[in-house]
Symmetry: D3
């Protein structure tokens, strides 16, 4: 159960309704999902989060699906239950295949293992990796 | 400073030298980087990690660069100093552009923010997201 | 379901009953909450944790509500389901307003985003920040 | 060493200079700190992050110092080296006393311990905590 | 609900059935647990994970129970719901006593507290700790 | 650099000197390590942490070395630089062999990988694992 109320469209302020309408139009859905209903308790956070998400997730040098897969990777590492479910669903909706998903999971697992090993051994960073920022 | 010795090629056992040779050949480098020198204290972990990495990171349904960017995302969320440096360098070596990198960072940041918000509010997962596994 | 039994008052040893009584008296509640019933499987941890919590959470230079909000912030970042629920409830019981709660959430989200960005870019710490400990 | 270049004012684009000027004016500092110089590689992220930070960190129902202390708490739990240093310095600049800081640290430590214990034992959330969202 | 289907033995490919058979034989169980049914969507990950787990968890310089307790400690710190349950059960099956379990929990809690404190204060590592790798 | 001053014995209050003396006597060392010098800025936290550590880390159903290895595992998963160094050194001082250390690292790595995989796939906990608490 949420620690906040889920604000339904019919009970929302004009300010919130505006953002909800934008979300519904942009995503072509009948109702916004629970994340937005939860954020709606603070209209400023609702608007800021929606606008930031639109800016960040729009296709650019990286396509929309790649961005969703990166979102999943971070959500898994941060262990966010809601986000794992919602962004895995979003990635499938954007055309992720089962094989792509399985490879994504394998990379997440592998990275987690070598992250732990490198952290445990306090491996010193090789100078060629440190120097890279200058050469880019 | 590492909590383990960095095993140099000339001091390595035959078993370790074999893996080092494979890494050098595969990656076309003169010397292996410190992660492998650290793992070489346990030849079984060295071999297993190298073989797993090759299997997981080979291009498949996801290309090599996408996999590197996912690796970076996980390494940032897990806060692995060494891995952030080495995989950011690896991604640039595989052709990641500055714009792609900047978009990758923006997605990682955004995901971290909404992860925290969704976790804090304990947002209940919408049924349409939960139902997805059946429909795939 | 818990990985331990929840020790009920009537089944508890004298040692455990004493701590339970202290908690009930201090908090003016009829029964202790599940965290304490879980800890009661190890009376030494139960007593130590209760005494430490009393020492740490008593109003001092920071008031009780500020301490609860910091507790929520850490629990969210550590993703502790139980603690998010119990300390959010505790903060409301200590007078946190909805607006305060919403601002708390916004700060937690914002911090998580910039934490990820700074970690990803390995931003070098400015010398004026490093020097601070000396000047305090 | 950073994985990005630190963009200096004199080398910055007009877009970046504008944000840098805003930061310097708002904070009354001669130069922006490294976090902003790092973000400046992506002007959109620079602007968005600065504006979000201003919105979130302005005094409201919570005062500026309380917000800084919450920021520290999250940064510690997320283990962000840069953020721990910069926000600890910021909190002292905003008037945090040594005693407040020490109490903040004690709460962060205590929360981390009980977070781990509650997570390990999978303590079921008491119904009175779950019911709270309705009653607020 | 899982984000993947749970592959049942009767629906599995020959490749998957082989691994399932190995697991059942090695552990002397009638059916594999849900983790393996989930991994079975990617036969390569299923096989690699099972073989790695066998190699890593076999008794060696550390006995099987000690390894399970370390597994629990990591799973708690990483907050993996499934893993906490499965490895706590596995440790009890391998003979962990209630007192051992309670002491394990106390160490996990204590470590989490001092981890947070040391991270918050950015305590510089004493030179005698750094020098150790050379002397081993 | 630390965010706090390191309190040296000669500058310490009587209260702090008492705890420092206890640490030096118990561990048979000439000076306390930096963690304690950092905590000494808050004598109450210094005393509480030292006493809790003694209680938790004393040999019991688990021996001192096993406890140190669990401490390392948690410190790695929490990514605490200082703690990884100090507890790895402590474990070697208590007799941990190189082979034990290498096996510890392998378990930490493996657990981190399967933690991520189980979290990503939201694997439902098998009923036999959930039922265990009752049967113990």
């Amino acid at each position: 159960m949420a620690t906040v109320s889920l604000v339904q469209y019919e009970d929302a302020s004009e300010q919130v309704k505006q953002v909800f309408d934008e979300i519904k139009r942009t995503r072509n859905v009948k109702d916004v999902n629970n994340f937005w209903k939860s954020l709606a308790n603070h209209p400023a956070t609702l608007r800021r989060t929606w606008e930031s998400l639109c800016e960040v997730m729009q296709p650019g040098a990286l396509d929309a699906l790649t961005k969703e897969m990166i979102y999943i990777a971070v959500s898994v590492a941060n262990n966010c239950d809601y986000c794992i479910h919602s962004h895995t669903a979003a990635a499938f909706a954007k055309g992720m295949t089962q094989t792509q998903y399985q490879e994504l999971l394998a990379v997440i697992g592998m990275a987690s293992e070598t992250n732990a090993l490198a952290t445990a051994m306090k491996v010193p960073v090789d100078t060629q990796f440190l120097a890279d920022a200058d050469k880019k």
